[in-house]
C-alpha cells in the first residue's frame, strides 16, 4: 500500500438512479492541504458525488478513502459541508442555531460556545447573536452558514457554490477565510461555476460532465495543455511575410492606429518570432494567449464525448 496515501481518494464511484446514471466510474485524488475545484455543468453529478463523500447517500460501486481508509460514520465529524441549497431555521436565533449545528457535528456544549464566539467575532457578527434568521439579508445568512460549516474545525471542507449571494466585499472576505483555513491545514473541495474563483484558488480540479470525469489535474498543467501557443502582437508598421514556423491567424487595426495580430507559433518560440519581426515593425507588446478556465470549461463540456 502507498505509504503516503492521498488525503481523499475517490475510487471508481458509480451511482445509478432509476432513470439515469449520476456517476459512472468517477476517480480522483485530493492531496492534503490543497484546494480542489470540483467543476461541471448543472446536472453533471457533482452534488451526488458530494453527497456520497458526506455519506448522505451511498455509492452503488466504488469507494471513498480518507487517509487511505474507507469512510465511516464517525468521519462526518471531520467534514464540514456547505451545501448549495442551504438554509437555517427561520425562527431560531442565530447564536443558538450555530451552537446547535456545532453540537450536532460533535462538539461539546462548552466547546461549541467557544468556537461560535470566536467565529462570530472574526466575522464581526457578534451583535447578531439574538437575531432571528428571518431578520437577516441573504448575504448575512450566507456568512452565518459559512461559520456553521467550519466551526467544528473540519479537516475536509466542502463548499458548494460558496460565493453565491455574496457582494464583492464579502466574497473577498470569504476568499481570505478559505485561504486561511487551508493554511491551518484544512483540505478544501470547492464546487462552483464561477471559473475566475477557480483560477484564483484551486490548485487542482476535476471537471465532471455527464457523470464522468472528463478533465482532471493540476490547474497550471491543464492550462498548458490547453494552450494553443497563440501570441498576441501589438505593433506599428507593416508586418513582413512570416516564415513557415509561424502562422498569422488574423490582424486588426486598433483605434490608436496600431495593429494587433494573433500569431500561432508552430516551431520555435516567442524569441524567434520577435527576431523575425523586430526589423520591420515597432513592437508595443507581445503576450501569450492563455486560455482561461471559462474557455477550457466550455470547450471541454461542448466537445463530443469520446
Amino acid at each position: 500500500m502507498n505509504p503516503n496515501p492521498p488525503f481523499l481518494s475517490v475510487q471508481n464511484v458509480v451511482k445509478r438512479y432509476q432513470q439515469h446514471t449520476a456517476l459512472s466510474g468517477v476517480s480522483f485524488d485530493i492531496p492534503q492541504g490543497s484546494i480542489f475545484g470540483l467543476l461541471g455543468p448543472n446536472g453533471a453529478g457533482k452534488t451526488t458525488l458530494i453527497r456520497i463523500i458526506n455519506q448522505i447517500i451511498g455509492p452503488d460501486e466504488g469507494q471513498i478513502l480518507l487517509n487511505g481508509k474507507p469512510l465511516t460514520p464517525a468521519d462526518t465529524r471531520r467534514i464540514g459541508y456547505l451545501p448549495e441549497e442551504r438554509g437555517l431555521y427561520k425562527k431560531m436565533k442565530i447564536g443558538e442555531q450555530a451552537l446547535y449545528l456545532a453540537r450536532l457535528r460533535g462538539l461539546s456544549a462548552a466547546d461549541a460556545r467557544k468556537e461560535v464566539k470566536y467565529w462570530f467575532e472574526k466575522f464581526e457578527i457578534q451583535s447578531w447573536w439574538n437575531k432571528k434568521v428571518e431578520e437577516l439579508s441573504k448575504g448575512m445568512q450566507q456568512k452565518v452558514q459559512f461559520v456553521c460549516t467550519v466551526l467544528h474545525k473540519p479537516e475536509l471542507i466542502i463548499l458548494d457554490e460558496p460565493f453565491s449571494g455574496f457582494d464583492p466585499i464579502n466574497a473577498d472576505l470569504l476568499k481570505r477565510e478559505i485561504l486561511f483555513l487551508r493554511e491551518q491545514g484544512a483540505t478544501i473541495i470547492f464546487s462552483t461555476h464561477r471559473m475566475e474563483s477557480v483560477e484564483e484558488l484551486c490548485e487542482r480540479i476535476a471537471l465532471i460532465n455527464q457523470s464522468k470525469v472528463v478533465l482532471e489535474g493540476n490547474t497550471r498543467e491543464i492550462k498548458r495543455q490547453y494552450s494553443t501557443n497563440t501570441f498576441l502582437l501589438r505593433y506599428e508598421g507593416t508586418l513582413p511575410a512570416l516564415s513557415a514556423g509561424f502562422e498569422l491567424l488574423d490582424s486588426k487595426q486598433q483605434v490608436d492606429g496600431s495593429q494587433e495580430a494573433r500569431i500561432q507559433i508552430g516551431s520555435g518560440g516567442a524569441n524567434e518570432l520577435l527576431q523575425e519581426v523586430i526589423g520591420s515593425v515597432r513592437i508595443h507588446a507581445l503576450e501569450e494567449q492563455i486560455p482561461n478556465f471559462n474557455e477550457i470549461f466550455i470547450r471541454t463540456v461542448k466537445a463530443p464525448m469520446s
Partner: protein, 443 residues
Amino acid sequence: MSKVGIILEREFMTRVKNKQFIIFTLLGPLLISLVFVIPLLLAMFDDDNQRIWVDDQSGLFSGQFESTEGLTFVELKEGGEQWRDSVKQAENTGLLVIPQQFDLHNPKGFAYYSSSPLGLSAKSAIEGGIRSRIEAIKLEQSGLSRGFIDSLRSKVNVETFKLTETGIENSSTDASTGIGFAAAFIMYLFIFIYGTMVLRGVVEEKSNRIMEVMVSSVRPFEMMLGKILGIALVGLLQFALWIVLSFGIISVAQAVLAPELAKEMVEANAQTRGMGALDPEMQAQANEAAADMGQSFFDALGTINLPFIVGMFLFYFLTGYLLYASLFAAIGSAVDNETDTQQLLFPVTVPIIIAIIVAQMVIQNPTSAVAFWFSMIPLTAPIVMVVRLPFGVPGWELALSMLLMVGGFLGTTWIASRIYRVGVLMYGKKPTLKEIGKWMFYK
C-alpha cells in the same frame, strides 16, 4: 449527549418557548373548567327576575302559577286593558291574559303581551301551568282524583352492577360513557395536533433547505426520531399541565362559588316564601345541595378505576402518537411545502376519522365485534380502545391490543424512516403515493 438527544432538546425547547404553546396551554384548562364553572356562574348571576302579571278573567287559575327563582307571577286583582299600557313601561315584565271563557278540549285565546320577547323557560312555565290546570279540571269532570293519576306515573331507574370475579361492583354507565368519549376525543385531538406539528416541522426543514446541512451531520433516522420524541414530550407536558391546571381552576371555582350559590338559593327561597331572615337550617340544606352537584359526579368517577384508565390512556397516546407521527413525518419529507401535503395526508387521516366514528358506535355497545376489531387494529385502537376502557376490557384483549400497538408503531416507524431518508433529499416535483411507495425499497 447523543445526537437524538440534542435534536430532541431543540425540538422541545423551541416549541415550549413558543408563545402559541404558552397561550394554548393556559387557554385549554380555562375552556375545560368553563364547562364546569359556567353552570355554577349562570345559577349565580341569573337574577334578572322576570315578572308576569296574570290577568285571569276566567278566575280558574288562581294560585296555579308558581313563582320560581327567575320568574315571578303576580295575579292582578282587577284585569283590564289599562295593564297593557303599563306593561310597556315596566322592565322585564309581561302580561298574561287568560280569556273569560275557552273551550277545554281546544283551549285558545291565551295571550302574552310584553315589550321584550318571551324566554323559552318562561313560556314553558306558563304553558305548563295552564295545561296542568286544564288537566285538573278535566280530571274533576271525569271523576278521577289527582292522587290516582299521580300514582300511575312511576319513575324507573335501573341500577347497573358489574359482575366481577371478586363480587359485584356498582358501575355507572353514564360516567363510563362520559369518560370514554372524552378520552377518545382528547386522543383524537392530540394525535392530530401533535402529528401535524411533526409534519410541519419536517416540511419547514425541507422548505428552509436546512435539511441538507442536517443530514450531513445526522442520520435521517436520528433526525426523525429526535423530532418525534421531542414533540411527544411537548404533548405530554401540555397534557399534564392541562390536567393540573384544570383541576386547580375547578376546585378553586367550586370553593369560591359553592357557598355563594348556597346563599343565593336560600335567599331566593326566603323571598318567595315571604320570610325576611335566613333560617340556619335552610342555609345548611342549601350548602349541601350545592355540594351535591359536584359530589354526584365524583361519586360516579369513584366507581371507575381512574389511575388505570389514565395509565392506559398515556400508553395509547404515546404509541398511537408514535405510529401516526412517523407517518406524518414521512409525508412531510416527501413534499417541498405545506400546501402539497393535503392530498398525501388523506390516507393517513381517514383511519383517524373512521376511529372517531366507530368510537360513537362502541359507546352504544362496548363489547360488539366492531368494538373488538377496531380496538385491535393499531391505526384505530388508540381511539377505540380508550372508549372501551371505562366499561371494562378483558385482560387478554387489552394485552393483545397493546402488543399490536407496539408492533404497529415499530412497523410504521420503520416504513416512515425508509421514506423519510429518500424524501428529505428530493426536491422538485410532488411525488405520487406510488413513487413514495417505491422509495421504501431504495438501497
